[in-house]
Amino acid sequence: DIKDVGHKYHLELELEDELDKDSTVNCTAEVLYHLGNKNVAPDVQFTLEGELKSTEEADHVFYTRIRSLEKELEAENIPDSHGHVPPELQPLHLLAWAASGFLVWQNSTENTQLQLAQVKRVKQVRRSDKYLQFDFQVLLHEMVSQEIIPWEMTVLWHPRDGVQVTRESRQPGHSSG
């Protein structure tokens, strides 16, 4: 409890590689939730104790594949109602997961627990520069209220630069039929 500032949490985490469950990295973090203004994202400082695996090859494969598509990539419902993600859409699902992490961070308080539930729609937007651009409509699930919140985000990605969310907007209303 930091008087007049907020609540600080010290965390010790074990990060597990989604694609290789045996691969783990320890991490320590400090998270400061600010008092008062709920529109400010919590401050996060972290230290990785070890190195993350290199994804250079997989990144290159994905990048080249998308760049060489004749028609801009479009997809819906990832995963589908049965929880399936077709193999060719898995990299995109991972990208959405990473990018939605930014949304979660920006919109978290001590009383929320947000998680990506589904990519409702994704559309690639062709660019003349080196970046891949995807416009996403995602559904975030908020554990406390149980609400499913539709959210739009524009994501830029490049193998060397990583993920950027350049635009995001929470959509009104509930996820509808």
């Binding site: 709920k38 109602s81 049965h82 929880g83 308080t109 001590e110 009383n111 929320t112 539930a117 589904q118 729609r121 559309k123 937007v125 416009d135 409509q137 559904l139 554990m143 406390v144 209220s145 149980q146 609400e147 499913i148 739009e152 635009r167 907007s169 959509q171 509930h174 996820s175 509808s176 039929g177």
Partner: protein, 366 residues
């Protein structure tokens, strides 16, 4: 033509009366605003609620396309508007229902491929298929009986399986699933559990000794209206489908509708209450305890039986194994036993594939 439009409107109304959401004649347009002014026109269009436009990509910046689903009845007006404003568009989907029909067909075909002679307990099914399998299980095993404990809001039967090898009102265990309809893995799990128990009686010593002493009541779909809705309309639907007077929003969260600390203390400090008093909320507790017929049917059944010893309910996701209380943070009388039983169960689960479940009282765990 005007007649076409009238027919389309009438058929949409008729469909709505029958509780069907059909997208016949709905088109999805891709609109390309070329400047801020056109963008403004589209935002204006978005505000006209009577057109019932469903923006798949909302107007936000001139560089980005706007995708919108237009009900048949509004098509003429919207196209006329766009053309009069010189706003370019193309037709992404000529008839949305065709696309949805094809999707359904694809699903049916793949289900057909998966199906051999027996029910695939490892995949998701419709309500009708699940109810069909309940009949099948009851017919295959003499100690399994399908019973009806009530009816849902939309008058669907609430079917449960009774496992009983004899006696009269033996001490009983209750298990339900799917009280939150979108949690599909729970209905599927309940069915899997039913089949597992039915098949192992007589061969597995634990199951045999359990059913020789106690009865099991299993309700695989506690919220059938919501479940059907997740198949037909909205995969993310959680609540019941009851009408809330004075509100456009349907449904009550059945798991906030029980008569135990009803509408009471929030689980967490504000602004996140455990239950909401707003009908549009996904955790709306309803106008009063047991207002939902689905909940009342279960409560009445258990009270009338009088000899239940354990109550289990399945939810997803999270991998949490929890015991009372949720609506308050005092320990239950049997806290020590519940905690040790929970730990034993979590260890047993972990021993199979390494899956970890966190154990604890609802109040502090979730």
């Amino acid at each position: 033509t005007a007649t076409m439009r009238l027919l389309l409107i009438l058929s949409a109304l008729l469909g709505a009366c029958l509780g069907l959401e059909t997208f016949e004649g709905h088109q999805v347009l891709r609109i390309n605003p070329k400047d801020e002014e056109q963008l403004g026109q589209l935002q204006f269009l978005e505000s006209l609620e009577h057109l019932e436009l469903d923006f798949w990509i909302s107007p936000s910046a001139p560089a980005l396309p706007v995708d919108v689903r237009i009900p048949a009845g509004s098509l003429q007006s919207v196209k006329a508007f766009l053309e009069s404003q010189g706003i370019g568009y193309s037709i992404l989907i000529e008839d949305l229902q065709d696309v949805l029909d094809k999707e359904k067909q694809d699903m049916a075909e793949s289900a057909q491929r998966e199906r051999s002679a027996s029910f695939d307990f490892g995949s998701y099914h419709t309500l009708d298929d699940i109810y069909g399998e309940l009949d099948h299980l009851a017919s295959e095993h003499s100690f399994v009986e399908k019973i009806q404990i009530g009816e849902s809001y939309e008058k669907r039967p609430l079917y449960a399986l009774k496992f009983s090898t004899g006696g009269s009102a033996r001490p009983a265990i209750w298990l339900d699933a799917g009280i939150h309809s979108r949690e599909w893995v729970t209905q599927a799990s309940a069915l899997w559990i039913a089949n597992q128990i039915a098949s192992s009686y007589g061969t597995d010593s634990f199951v045999t000794s359990l059913l020789d002493k106690m009865d099991l009541f299993l309700l695989p779909v506690a919220n059938p209206d919501g479940f059907v809705y997740t198949h037909t309309s909205n995969r993310m639907w959680r609540k019941t489908r009851s009408k809330n007077p004075g509100s456009v929003c349907f449904g009550v969260d059945p798991n906030r509708n029980w008569d135990a600390g009803f509408g009471g203390c929030p689980l967490l400090a504000p602004p996140g209450p455990g239950a909401s008093n707003k009908p549009c909320s996904d955790s709306y507790h309803g106008p009063s305890a047991n207002s939902e017929v689905e909940v009342r049917s279960v409560a009445d059944f258990i009270k009338n039986h009088g000899n239940f010893k354990a109550f289990l309910t399945l939810h997803s996701y999270s991998q949490l194994l929890m015991y009372p209380y949720g609506y308050k943070c005092t320990r239950p009388n049997d806290y020590a036993e519940l905690e040790s039983l929970g730990r034993a169960a979590a260890n047993a689960i972990k021993s199979v594939y390494g899956t970890t479940f966190q154990v604890g009282p609802i109040c502090t765990t979730i």
